[in-house]
Point group: C2
Chain length 368, copies 2
């Protein structure tokens, strides 16, 4: 595996050199993990001529929490609770004779940036920008295979929950049970805080589980994902509790389902991101829900639950093959509840069968 990380760092190094920087200091946590294979909280990675160095904060309680970084990296654990890995990285770059260092200005705080400059006053600090985020967009087979497992785990956890009795249980308990099941099936943990909404809370994106109990006639919406080897799946489904859905529930479900399908079908290499948003959005606008649709229809997933590309009306850029994204439109009617349907898919060319659906739990409207 070490070769994969070395190759990623080689690409970054080339890009830096092309931009006139001799070294780069990566401090975004997912970026460090992508390039080093491991990223203790607060770690920084110095990519420089010679051997790259992973700088880790001294563990607050004495134990270096380094989980197997790539073997060709030098790992340095800083002494004390106060050592700053990014500052130490700048110091090293200067000592190694680098004249300029590209840093991630969108991750470094102003105070740390100032500290970097003050330990290495002769070092010219430039902006690396989202170079690593861009490298992370298109996933390799190994990454997609981790996402596939992460999606399978979320499917399993959700499937098991549906077999249990739901009426009378609180949103909070259902969310905790889902998270326990994720771990049972091999996840490191949830990919993001599990959202469970019942009745008037259903269909609310990012709803934090409350003490409301599931009642007959409720919509129940669930959004859950697994973290498997750092890669994060996402699935969202909405169900009806009880014997049979009301007419307004069937109608709303059909509308959101049609929008979600339109979004999924728009996924193809070369398609502008905004067109995917548009494809789903027009369906909901036509149904009169234009002002109830959120600002975006989906987003990339990978080492972060929410990464590029963003599927929004103003998004720039086009989709590429092997980019995993969610398609997750929803509509919430204040006081009544709503529907959200959310899948993780990988963009694939038509010749390969089109978008690959990773989250395969049924999207029929189940009455539970």
């Amino acid at each position: 595996m070490s070769e994969v990380y070395a190759a990623r760092r080689a690409r970054l190094r080339e890009r830096c050199h092309a931009a006139g920087s001799e070294a780069a200091l990566v401090s975004g946590n997912a970026n460090v993990r992508y390039l080093a294979g491991a990223a203790p909280a607060g770690a920084a990675l110095l990519v420089c001529p010679g051997q790259d160095v992973l700088l880790c904060p001294g563990d607050p309680c004495g134990t270096p929490a380094v989980a197997r970084p790539a073997e060709d990296l030098r790992v340095v654990v800083l002494d004390g609770a106060d050592g700053d890995p990014a500052v130490a990285g700048a110091e090293r770059a200067a000592v190694a004779g680098a004249g300029s260092l590209a840093v991630e200005e969108h991750h470094l705080t102003v105070s740390r940036h100032r500290a970097l400059q003050s330990v290495a006053p002769r070092l010219r600090l430039t902006d690396l920008g989202p170079a690593v985020e861009q490298q992370r967009l298109v996933k390799d087979d190994e990454e997609i295979s981790s996402l596939r497992i992460a999606a399978e785990i979320a499917d399993q956890a959700l499937g098991e929950l549906l077999e249990s009795i739901l009426v009378g249980r609180t949103e909070r308990h259902l969310a905790l049970e889902l998270e326990r099941r994720l771990v049972d099936h091999g996840a490191t943990g949830p990919a993001f805080p599990t959202s469970v909404g019942t009745g008037p809370n259903s269909g609310l994106a990012g709803h934090l589980p409350s003490d409301r109990r599931v009642e007959e006639g409720d919509f129940l919406s669930v959004c859950v994902g697994a973290d498997y080897r750092g890669y994060r799946s996402e699935i969202g489904r909405t169900f009806v509790i009880g014997t049979s859905p009301a007419d307004w529930q069937i109608e709303l479900y059909d509308q959101v389902f049609a929008a979600q399908r339109a979004g999924r079908e728009a996924l193809a290499p070369g398609t502008p991101c905004r067109d995917v948003d548009r494809a789903a959005r027009v369906v909901l606008e036509a149904a009169g829900h234009g002002d109830r649709v959120g600002p975006r229809i989906g987003h990339g997933v990978g080492l972060e639950n929410d990464e590029d590309p963003r599927l929004t009306p103003s998004a720039m850029g086009k989709l590429d093959a092997c980019v995993p994204v969610t398609v997750d439109p929803g509509v919430h009617l204040p006081g009544r509840g709503g529907v959200r349907i959310d899948d993780t898919l990988v963009v694939r060319p038509e010749a390969d069968g089109g978008p690959e659906l990773l989250t395969i739990t049924t999207k029929e409207l189940l009455a539970l």
Copy 2:
């Protein structure tokens, strides 16, 4: 409750004026919560002449996730997925005619700082520094009462776990069960990722639960805390599994216990933070564990699990009354395991009975 937040903002405003700034932009999440009563992820608070404004990001899926901020605040939810609350705050400050704006340079990234400056080029940006963090150090009665409940919840969750059968269960499952019980007892959630270590993993600070199962003869160490109304308790205990502890286990336990007691007993208003660290550290040094003690013996708790003051050998500053801290020394013997004992206490003057212990689970060495 709104008056509490208004009074906190008034204090900050005074401090800003004294430092020559007309307005302040607070973007550290716990700081925003402290001053506004609520802090959706990414929110920023503009404290300025006239009405203060809480700026919230447009929810990625259309729902403003604002949980009841103080009533005298103006709440603005930004449109779209890309609106930056801090940038919008700077724009407002400029429009309102402020000549200078104090920002939290230790929370703002270089890129955002640049964006602030570019939307309001005439605004002079100064550094607010850790002014709000300093205001948060000494807690009021309401805050301490939330911490007391958070500690009680953690005590209850831990107590119930101890009554169940432990042998054969994995660290991961024990940690999940603890987190479920926290929520059962009224916590919003865990205060931090629950740590459970068995056998060779016991006593490792911040150990992430693995699939190792509890075995006869193991040390079992647990570190858990509850988030109650945003306030975060922390408790750590170490147990022995089986009939009776081995001699080395009793000896190590007694050493760590003596160190932890010495740290607790050193807590008093006016005591230098480093003296608390020293009091516990000398006990472990005398026992020959000097190089196995982590870089610090404890830390403040409140709206964050790990906040000022830090109890380290190089810490500056003295303790005050009504400052809640942990005292959590530990020793880990590689390959064998170790002991960690961790309490949350509130610094109180001798006249009031000395430090108030919030986490009251027994610290006797229990054989389970």
